[in-house]
Symmetry: C2
Subunit: 352 residues, 2 copies
């Protein structure tokens, strides 16, 4: 079809799936990714395994990357950012800044897959001790260790005997200004807890949580599995302070199920940091003139019966660019965005 | 494009969005809906308002139905079921049984949007008293009352003074055999609680829950709103028995936050019944030779990086046919399924 390419901003799971899908429908696609590599968070973090099926993240993402790289309709630009846009779809002029300098290209439709960024647990609050204590780490730090199949206390390099996850760090928190639930951290913590127990069966693993949001099949596939097969211990409680005593990290809080204060010493504390709107989303919203919704993610219109349309025709967004999203959400939304972008372009071409 | 139509089975949110999308891409679509009306659960239940944006369900669904009805590429068959299938895609012969008898049509691809059915709280267990007590009702029964803007105790016709929701009825329950979390009942109960308080400000409304699964923006948009603006009271507890005392229904259980037994009298008890695989999903899986996954929903392949592909090329499924799904999930998956079905048909036509 003779149209300008669909511009996909972001080369993570949503962006790659959008590129794959648009190619399958016969539309040319231009994928712009600001980092030097494709794959997004699963590759950049890097994740050890995907939630919930625990397939090796690199293997799974490679399938998608290979498919996209093999498609002659898909042009991939890594290390490249969108710096300006002028005119109107389907003849929008977009300026790209890449390794070989600047270039202006015409695009027919835009799909923003600019993802999320993790909450920085040292920002705005010292409560979590993230910057102070070596043995206080995040979900992402532990993924890296799991990827290397070597889970250790950072301060000693020895395997931990007691490790805990603290849920909702930077989520469901009015004081910090992040009022949303980040949706995936409960599932990811469960998955990581299982992986830790597989590597270190004698390590005691605890999860401090407010509500375990293990929706759908995550309930039995990973939550029950963590409890029953791997003896991960889930403690409903509010963590109010993380301090140091000798060489251990001490969690203070309230066990709300037992109704009593809790104070436990851990070798490693893993902060389950939530999702925040990415800088990339904000920048693209600015460049393309798209509003953000009240939490700072890219706004979609029409409520639950439309999940990927922004307020401007021809501009779509998918995945964590529009709010907390799991991998399935990102993949489904990417497909929906391609469907709508292709529909938009067809309307321009056939004048339907 | 000269292809056999895409067969969409089910005329609910996912099916209608799939039809709308396929039409937009220029593919002919045949929608088969077994009931006499389009709109699926939001219309059949009927729902009062959608979760989470609380738009009137009829108004919202009418937009989609109108769009589909106006599209000359979409053929709609209500009161019709698929009774047999023979041959191979994209020349699959499908037998339809409708009001005017049987007919065989050729289809190019298939999208199953056969939805879910609610757990029957009187089935297999008398614990909930659903068949025994008039004032024990379900999420669906209360939707009907909200739709009529008249919430009453069924036994007296008077407005209730105390009403409670009991979450996870038929979900997260190994004894019943439903091990999954139904994903949407927490959100729907919150939405209904708000609507009840709007109609009956002096009615005390309680929600008994295990974990409030208010993921993403549901957290502040409906959960905090229910607590802060509408004073809905959330009690973390396990309900072990529902009995009658005089003309009140008595909830017995354990308040797990306070760590003590709880026994409270209510005028109305609303059972938050979960999602189960629909008969329609099972029947279509049988007719088209598609496997079910371990919980009894239609199986999709490839883990989280593929959400709508079944094990047979050209056959896709979207929405609650493949597992517990909220409206956004259904709409996104419908778009993804259209993208894949159109890609499949294009591959047949251009031999790509």
């Amino acid at each position: 079809m003779e149209s300008n390419p669909i511009l996909v901003v972001g080369g993570g799971p949503a962006g790659l799936e959008a590129a794959r899908g648009a190619g399958e429908l016969g539309y040319p696609v231009l994928v712009v990714e600001k980092t030097p590599v494709l794959g997004g968070s699963p590759i950049l973090a890097p994740y050890a395994a995907l939630t919930p099926d625990m397939e090796d993240a690199e293997t799974a993402m490679k399938r998608v990357i290979d498919a996209v790289e093999a498609d002659p309709l898909v042009e991939l630009r890594t290390g490249t950012t969108v710096t300006a846009a002028e005119g109107e779809l389907p003849e929008l002029s977009v300026t790209l800044a890449g390794p070989d300098g600047e270039e202006v290209v015409k695009v027919g439709a835009v799909i923003l897959c600019t993802g999320f960024q993790h909450f920085d647990p040292g920002r705005e609050t010292q409560m979590y001790g993230y910057y102070e204590y070596d043995d206080v780490i995040t979900l992402v730090d532990i993924e890296r260790m799991l990827k290397d199949e070597r889970v250790v206390r950072p301060s000693t390099g020895e395997p931990p005997k007691r490790l805990c996850f603290v849920q909702c760090v930077g989520s469901r928190d009015r004081q910090i200004g992040n009022e949303w639930c980040s949706k995936v951290c409960c599932g990811i913590a469960c998955k990581e807890a299982i992986e830790i127990k597989e590597l270190l069966p004698s390590c005691q693993v605890f999860v401090f949580y407010i509500d375990m949001r293990m929706y759908g099949f995550w309930e039995d596939q990973i939550y029950w599995k963590a409890q029953e097969e791997h003896k991960v211990q889930f403690i409903r409680g509010i963590v109010t302070e993380i301090t140091k005593r000798g060489d251990e990290v001490v969690i203070k809080g309230e066990d709300t199920t037992m109704g009593r204060p809790v104070e436990v010493a851990m070798d490693v504390v893993v902060l389950s940091v939530g999702m925040e709107p990415s800088d990339g989303s904000r920048e693209m919203a600015e460049i393309f003139g798209l509003p953000l919704e009240s939490h700072g993610f890219i706004e979609t219109i029409d409520g639950p019966l439309n999940t990927v349309s922004t307020s401007k025709p021809g501009f779509y967004a998918a995945g964590a660019a529009v709010g907390p999203a799991d991998l399935e959400d990102s993949i489904s939304m990417a497909g929906a965005a391609v469907m709508k972008a292709a529909g938009f372009l067809r309307k321009q071409l056939v004048g339907a």
